[in-house]
Subunit: 416 residues, 2 copies
């Protein structure tokens, strides 16, 4: 198995040199052919998907997991429509930033180039196979895909459909490859292909991500979890604050940009907490409050210290009353995960300070945490969200799948 | 030892939150105080340095290594003058890029922020202690330094001088710390401080860098080696080509941006090779040539296949005649190290193609490879050169010691 994985990585590396210099038109044509191929193989893909589903049912996987695994017509159509969106994205490759002239006459600029070979390691959702492949390809990269074992048949047939499209478009089909092994140890070999793979992006549970980080000699862009905070400041518009705290928690509680902890300034807590308390109650949100919160909201549960900093991914909110703006920022610094934090305030200087002092990939004033999303922030399709600070911090779009090299125009300069 | 290293990392993390929001004036004042402290402790630093030198002599280290270790007046003065250069650098922290308005009225921008805590692991030259500390600090980072064991006394006293300066300026002295252990295993503990350290930058031999990369759970920015190429095209100005090939090889052969392999188009090889051959011979450069090269240059040594792609760091050049432009680009792709490549040509379209098709951190037209250097390319002081594509590719200046977060201005937006 190791030999074959090295062979996949080698052929991907070779293919990456070709995809790096493809014209935008050619890349879009290839995406178009992939879309056609998915349409042509629509039924076949769903048939293979059914195999995964029936295996999952036999293994007794949860209905939530089976739901994520299922390529319904709706999911299929969204996946196919997603390709059109990527076709419309600006191609970042080859664009050159400002060119500066040095005292010796050298002109120095930076050109966007693809990263090279990207390895995606992901769980359950088979549509990631398509999303990742087309976005990486549009940015001029070759990609090696390793999906979840539970989606094995779906991923294999999707990869076959991609290959068909690539061949139709006259591209090297090795620019998108899928690992043909179901065994978990296949991942271990991928992690060691330094020099052949330039970047790994694991997407899935914290366990998977930790495993990849700890064992990879290839650079990893990762996203552990989202412990997002909303802070209702002393100078907040309380009705706006309630809407934002509600939306951040309730609109889709199972995702990483949902709020987990609500901080409320003491001067407004007596007014604000009953307001949001009622809204949460009606929506079935369990409140785990600090001592002060529980004094005001009689039906709140007493929070355990570990509830602050916890990613519930559920209709549960930790709520804490803070004495000062400073305490709110401190609490966030000690408990956040570099994901998303929002302040609700009408005060100019507190808004500015919050934006500067809070260290998270997305910091908002007077808006829901749910806006941390590539599409919502204007990046178009996203490949993931990075909570690490290297290369990308926050949502990663097509531009984050490129890097920059220096280009230098001379007329005979030598160094003295 | 592990406990103490964790304590260092923790206190650095804490300090990093303070340095992240310091004003530029305050940071410059601190650098000023560090400079004064180095001047005050000038003699003491050199005395400690003598201890390292005498130990190195006893251990029989090479004179080149002892040279790198020595804090002569010249090195001391350059080190101190380097601080003034960093004071003059623009502070990237807090600057905000274009702010775009989304259809729902949200305004989205990106703000430059420090990376956080940076670990520098380096060998021999003790002046890196100062260079790295002041550059990281100016970019708002806390830094943990781990110098070579052979420079132990020098590094400790330099760190003491930095601490004195930081305290004078009223900064948390934990923002620059040095590992107080000489044992190599101290490095192992540093590599595991994920969550406390954001980035490791190893500087030194390939062995050190491989060790760090393979064992670190913290992201690493690395630079393995420089296998740089100069390609003399069919349409080259041959006299310019000779100057560039000579300067790239001879001006400072022991450094990573020196040329290692010279490629010559067959149509000009009969004219060009005797020209550069004489210049190299006079400078004592050994030529290891391909078969065609050796036919033209009678005193060239026959190259072993492994000479192509080798980093000689010496007055040795591998020389190969290529049949086509394409062969030159192919040869570079298969043998380069992502460092620096230069083409000499008068042809517009070949210049453009070389810039686009060659994948290296710095690609030049008609200029010496020796210009791959932060200062020469206009970045000011550099912390190193990355041959990895993530986060930075090529020389890393102060801007590469920062990252960007998203900032979002709303007026009550929630997601529907």
């Amino acid at each position: 198995m190791e030999k074959q994985i090295i062979e996949i990585a080698r052929s991907a590396r070779k293919a990456s040199r070709k995809t790096a210099i493809l014209s935008t038109d050619k890349k879009n044509m290839a995406l178009e052919e992939i879309r056609k191929s998915l349409q042509k193989n629509y039924k076949k893909i769903q048939d293979e998907n059914l195999k995964d589903i029936s295996e999952a049912e036999k293994r007794g996987l949860s209905s939530a997991m089976i739901d994520r695994l299922t390529l319904s017509d709706k999911v299929m159509d969204a996946m196919i429509a997603g390709i059109d969106e990527v076709i419309l994205l600006d191609d970042p490759v080859g664009s050159i930033g400002p060119i500066k002239k040095r005292p010796n006459g050298l002109e120095v600029g930076r050109m966007n180039i693809p990263i090279g070979v990207i390895g995606m390691i992901y769980e359950s959702r088979p549509n990631v196979t398509i999303d990742a492949a087309v976005l990486c390809l549009k940015a001029g990269n070759a990609v090696i895909l390793r999906g979840g074992t539970e989606a094995f048949h779906s991923n294999q047939v999707l990869a076959m459909a991609i290959s068909e499209g690539l061949e139709k478009a006259g591209l090297d089909k090795n620019c998108v490859q899928i690992i043909p092994f179901r065994e978990r140890e296949a991942v271990n070999f991928l992690l060691k292909q330094e020099g052949l793979i330039d970047l790994l992006i694991p997407r899935g549970g914290e366990g998977l991500i930790r495993f990849v980080t700890e064992n990879s000699s290839v650079p990893v862009l990762k996203h552990y979890k989202g412990v997002c905070h909303v802070y209702i400041d002393k100078f907040a518009d309380l009705s706006m604050g309630a809407d934002i705290a509600f939306n951040s928690k309730v609109q889709r509680p199972g995702v990483c940009n949902a709020m987990e902890t609500l901080l409320v300034h003491k001067d407004v807590s007596e007014k604000f907490l009953p307001l949001i308390g009622k809204m949460y109650k009606d929506a079935g949100v369990e409140i785990r409050g600090c001592v002060k919160t529980c004094k005001i909201l009689k039906d709140a549960v007493h929070a355990d210290p570990s509830d602050f900093g916890k990613e519930f991914l559920d209709l549960i909110a930790a709520v804490k009353v803070v004495d000062t703006f400073h305490e709110a920022v401190e609490h966030i610094s000690l408990n956040n995960s570099g994901h998303t934090e929002s302040i609700v305030t009408k005060d100019y200087s507190r808004a500015r300070r919050f934006l500067r002092e809070v260290d998270s990939s997305v910091v908002l004033v007077n808006a829901s945490t749910r806006f941390n999303d590539g599409n919502q922030l204007g990046l178009g399709a996203e490949i993931g969200i990075s909570t690490d600070k290297l290369h990308a911090y926050g949502p990663m779009g097509i531009e984050e799948l490129t890097t920059r090299k220096f280009i230098v125009f001379g007329d005979g300069q030598i160094r003295s």
